[in-house]
């Protein structure tokens, strides 16, 4: 088991009191798994993803284990270990890339933040961009010069450049045309085989999930739905 999450709860405070966005979610992931997170909008799919990488605070009582290592989800620092092993690609390729940075700057940013030298980072970024199907000529362009599908490739390269073992794909094909969606789904599949990734795949398209996933976690109103 590479990932084991027990009793994950997330709350938001609003005027009316405390609202549970997630309530006692439990799931695990084996190596090579593709876990689909399914459910309607507002069911908590993206909140699960955000909680896993520490973008939203956990409620007390949850436990989190990653590659056999106990993670303390109540300490911000511990997510630094998480993020070296788990990365995320986002839904909207238009708003998830900094418009003022070149592709190379975007993809090398996570490496530089981890203290890797610029030369080494550039080398790694080039290899990853090549892997997702972007050419050498593209690396000094800005995001506006690319189509939605190409931007999603840049987002994937940024997520994969740290060589994570788990990739969270949060609705990565929702904003794309069907023909581009097919390209990205094949790319994800190829990358998964090549880099031995395990995936957490969030989508609202049942047909797409059936194609790509071997496990499904269905959420409804922040709770796991039992079939």
């Amino acid at each position: 088991m590479i990932l084991n999450v027990q009793n994950l709860s997330v709350t938001f405070r609003s005027k009316g009191g405390v609202v549970y966005a997630l309530k006692n979610i439990c799931f695990s992931l084996e190596k090579g798994d593709v876990l689909a997170l399914a459910g309607e909008s507002g069911s908590g799919k993206s909140t699960v993803a955000n909680a896993l990488v520490g973008l939203v605070p956990w409620e007390q009582g949850g436990t989190y284990e990653l590659f056999g290592e106990k993670i303390n989800p109540y300490q911000k620092k511990s997510f630094s270990i998480v993020r070296s092993k788990m990365q995320m690609a986002f839904q909207d390729p238009y708003s998830s890339l900094n418009p003022r940075n070149t592709v190379m700057e975007i993809v090398t940013a996570p490496l530089l933040a981890r203290g890797i030298s610029k030369n080494e980072a550039t080398k790694k970024a080039k290899r990853m961009l090549d892997l997702v199907g972007l050419s050498n000529a593209d690396v000094h362009k800005f995001p506006h010069a690319f189509s939605g599908g190409q931007r999603q490739r840049i987002g994937l390269a940024r997520a994969l450049v740290l060589e994570p073992k788990i990739l969270i794909c949060d609705e990565i094909t929702s904003a794309l045309d069907v023909s581009v969606q097919a390209q990205i789904l094949h790319l994800i599949n190829d990358l998964q085989n090549e880099l031995e990734l395990s995936l957490i795949f969030i989508s609202h398209d049942i047909d797409v999930m059936e194609m790509i996933a071997n496990k499904v976690l269905r959420l409804s109103n922040g709770e796991v739905e039992v079939d």
Binding site: E40, S41, G148, V178, S179, Q181, A182, H204, I206, D207
Partner: protein, 316 residues
């Protein structure tokens, strides 16, 4: 009895020096749902927005063609007469309902604006009738609300009411559900379809979603790189696609029972209008490409059915 409501003939639109659509032809009968389907950047929205002359001025120019609505060529009408047509004869439903509505004006005022052509005493009755048809349970409360108080699906239903309020004969729905969640999409489309039917309005549905086109359209035109590749009854186009692009497009649509291996991505992307030449525009991505594909010019066969460039394949 259905009659020909809209006839778009040889419509070509250019932005500056670059021609983006090329001899687009199609007809819509009264009460019919007609879908324009294709990838982003194929010219679907440009074609749709050319009909009520809503293309950005002065950058967009209609190079050639006719747009005949109920016997009148809209391209020859003075701009004052077009005011009468927009809204009254042609209603529009756009992709982003949040941007289509004014955030600081109540829903009631915005709906009343849409029925300003009607006698005063009938206006309120008409909008309440529309809200009930759009399945709002409490129309009185809705009239007092503001856009930020409603969800995307509710807002799109309001936009549909506004589009249909003056009893138009044609509704142009440009990706009406793309910005909405998958589970709300069907509900909104069902309401849009049933309201068009009950108001006897025809619909031009612009979509890249093949599932949506298959489910709701009576007839369909597949667009590629500014040209109509294929038109026909929806069942015909989906069951026996003739154009190589339609065939390729249907292969990338995920469906129940399909595996990832069944999903055959179309290599490359849509040709940029700057690179259009005389040859078939799909030849760079086509699996049936032949030597003559780059020589065959464009021609309209029948009423915008298909290009001469691909007739080679229909015959063989």
């Amino acid at each position: 009895m259905n009659f020909e409501l809209l006839s778009v003939r040889n419509l070509s639109v250019a932005f500056g020096d670059v021609q983006v659509t090329d001899n687009v032809c199609f007809n819509i009968s009264s009460g019919e749902i007609f879908a324009l389907m294709g990838e982003s950047g194929c010219g679907k929205s440009v074609t749709a927005m050319a009909i009520p002359k809503l293309l950005p001025q002065p950058s967009a120019k209609i190079v050639s063609g006719e747009i005949i609505l109920e016997g009148k060529n809209l391209l020859e009408l003075p701009s004052k007469a077009l005011y009468e047509i927009r809204g009254k004869k042609i209603g529009c439903v756009f992709q982003e309902p949040m941007q289509a509505l004014n955030p600081v004006v109540s829903i009631g005022t915005q709906l009343l604006e849409a029925v300003r052509f009607m006698p005063k005493e009938k206006r309120l009755k008409r909008i309440k009738e529309l809200l009930t048809k759009a399945e709002f349970k409490d129309p009185e409360r809705i009239l007092k609300s503001y856009p930020h108080e409603m969800s995307g699906g509710m807002l799109q239903r309001i936009v549909i009411c506004i589009a249909l309020a003056p009893k138009p004969s044609l509704v142009i729905a440009d990706e009406p559900t793309t910005a909405l969640d998958a589970n709300i999409q069907t509900a909104v489309m069902d309401i849009l379809k049933s309201m068009c039917k009950s108001e006897n309005a025809a619909m031009l549905l612009i979509t890249h979603n093949a599932h949506l086109a298959a489910k709701y359209a009576d007839r369909i035109a597949v667009m590629y790189a500014g040209q109509i590749a294929e038109t026909g009854k929806t069942s015909e186009v989906f069951n026996t696609p003739k154009h190589p692009y339609t065939k390729a497009l249907l292969k990338v649509v995920p469906a129940k029972g399909k595996t990832l291996a069944d999903l055959k991505p179309i290599p490359g992307s849509v040709l940029s209008p700057k690179d259009f030449d005389k040859g078939c525009r799909f030849r760079f991505r086509c699996e049936f490409v032949k030597g003559e594909c780059d020589k065959l010019g464009y021609g309209v066969w029948g009423m915008g059915r298909m290009r001469i460039g691909v007739l080679v394949f229909y015959d063989s």
